[in-house]
Amino acid sequence: MEIPGKYFTIRRCFRPDVIDATHGVEFNQTEGIVIDQTLTFKNLLGILKQFAVEIAGAEKIRFYSDYYPFTEPSVQLSAKHPEMGWIEFAGAGIFRPELTLPLGVEEPVIAWGIGIDRLAMFKLGIKDIRNLFTKNLEWLRKTKVL
């Protein structure tokens, strides 16, 4: 692994959940890590904010204290949808040293999981996450491509 390094993946994910406007049993997620000696919690917030503001175009964001067994400190990112209120975008944190040290990594490693579908809801002005998998051909033909 190169240091500094940034790595990410975007894949389809599955979970048993109650399906509603912001939850599907199937969704797209990006998970990523950034590794460098200089990284801090401030940087983690910086990266998360970049996703929310620059990719999703969110105007109001908020960070919540959060818990994951493998990161500490941990944080949740939410953004305010103009009509739907606060929606959770991401869970993130800095990997616990108990996790990275056995792998020979002494540098801080920032990690996140971001619901891309929810970013897309903001960007496209969609009010129901299920519409990202729309079967409406007319809408697809007329909708602006990002």
Partner: protein, 555 residues
Amino acid sequence: MPTIDVSYKDLCKLIGRPISHTELQEKAVLFAKGEIDAIEGDMLKIDIKDTNRPDLWSVEGVAREIAGRYGRPGLPDYKTAKSDVKVTIDPKLKNIRPYTVCAVVKNLSITPEILSQMIQLQEKVAGTYGRNRKEVAIGVYDLHKITPPIRFTTTKPEGIKFVPLEFAREMTPKQILKIHPKGKEFAHLLEDNEEYPIFIDNADEVLSMPPIINSDYTGKVTEKTKDIFIECSGFNLKFLIPALNVIVSALAERGGQIETVEVHMPGGKKLVTPDLTPKKTSVQTGFVNKLSGLNLNEKEICRLLEQARYRTALKGKTIELQYPAYRQDIMHPVDVVEDAIISYGYNKIEPVVPQLATVGSQTAREKFSDTVSQIMTGLGSQEIMSYILTSKANLFEKMNKPQEQVVEIENIVSSNWCVFRNALLPELLEFLSQNKHVEYPQKIFEIGDTVLINQNRKTKTEDMRRISMATSGNTAGYEQVASDLDSLLQNLGIKYRLKNTSHPSFIRGRTASVIINNRIAGIIGEINPLVLEKWDLEKPVAGFELDLGLIFELL
């Protein structure tokens, strides 16, 4: 993640000052890793995100955490006195339920609110932290109905009878497991044993049969109860001790006076519980700043940690810390740093994008998928995206195909999403079937993953990237899709040939296998009218499906 119900008035009273809903939502509740999920009148539903902090799963715990940041910082000072209650553990419990830790809490003035919080905390701790009572079962009793010393021993399933909570008649342990709702719910935790665990006092009055049910006489706590006896039983002191500490610390916040109980273990060992002596750790001020990115001086860090309910003592660059016995989650200085920055306030920290010089690129496979997508769009096709989860009806029955082995989901949410697709074409037909009112011709494609069974893989499954296209309209036919297929493969620089084949989803004589490098890489043809009928499609459809993984490897 535990969700707890708390009274807003009660919360403010415990914090020691009123806090507006907005301030609670945007600031205060974040100190307890909470998020307000709903407000209904006086009742708040709070999601507590930390599944490793059972001390936060009650209004007392949430208030204690918030109060630290609202004028009541520092280590909570819980004193314990000595009670005259003793408990002995029978060696016969060794393989059944070998441990218990206990406490006495006196001078409680139990209001309905306190009672409901006690029950909620007990349920959350035994349920979430105690793995649904397997690791931790908790019993709370009216101390004055008990004659100490108490024996933690065993009974035969047909043995000691008692009246279980909320019942009016005596039952044997076996009957309780069969008839009582809690007995039925938790029978699986006991029924393999030849004897069952039981708490019984010196007057032979039963307290409870853990982890199932209390006795209706001793184990019923009401608003009239002043003094209580608490026991936690299970297999591992590592879980039992924090569970007991969490419960008694919450009651101490209500003014309860904690008293210790002597637990005599088999082999002569004696345990005095609860032990609320603060635990110790330390953190370097430099480490706090290095991890957080903040620039705090020693005094500021101490103040933030005091707000998080630590006791601090500065020794040079080291902060010596004491923290409450109800916390078992602090394993490393990173845990302390998080507490400090939660006190500081996540939303007051300035987000800074790191300036790192790295070169990024897509993987070749993803780039290839994008290229294919661009070519298809250039050929006038609309890209669609559908779910990977589908149904056997869509994959087989509606495609006029015999059933094949597919990867299935064991605990399905809906019958519409119960298997992983092994082909894309059914999704395209479903799409077309829902757009019959839209202008024709229609030309659509999808690039996506299918999941196949592959016994050679560790997971026995394999993801396969594919492309499928379909066109529908009065003149849709083999020649059109063959022309698109030709353009796509020529653009990709792939040599291929078509070989007449038959397939139940397609029309005989209008179907071909796509052969690349002597391997079957896909299929092309006109959709069988039988299939069209099943999808309720009225216009002809032609299409193809290709294995993109195979093509990528040839590039």
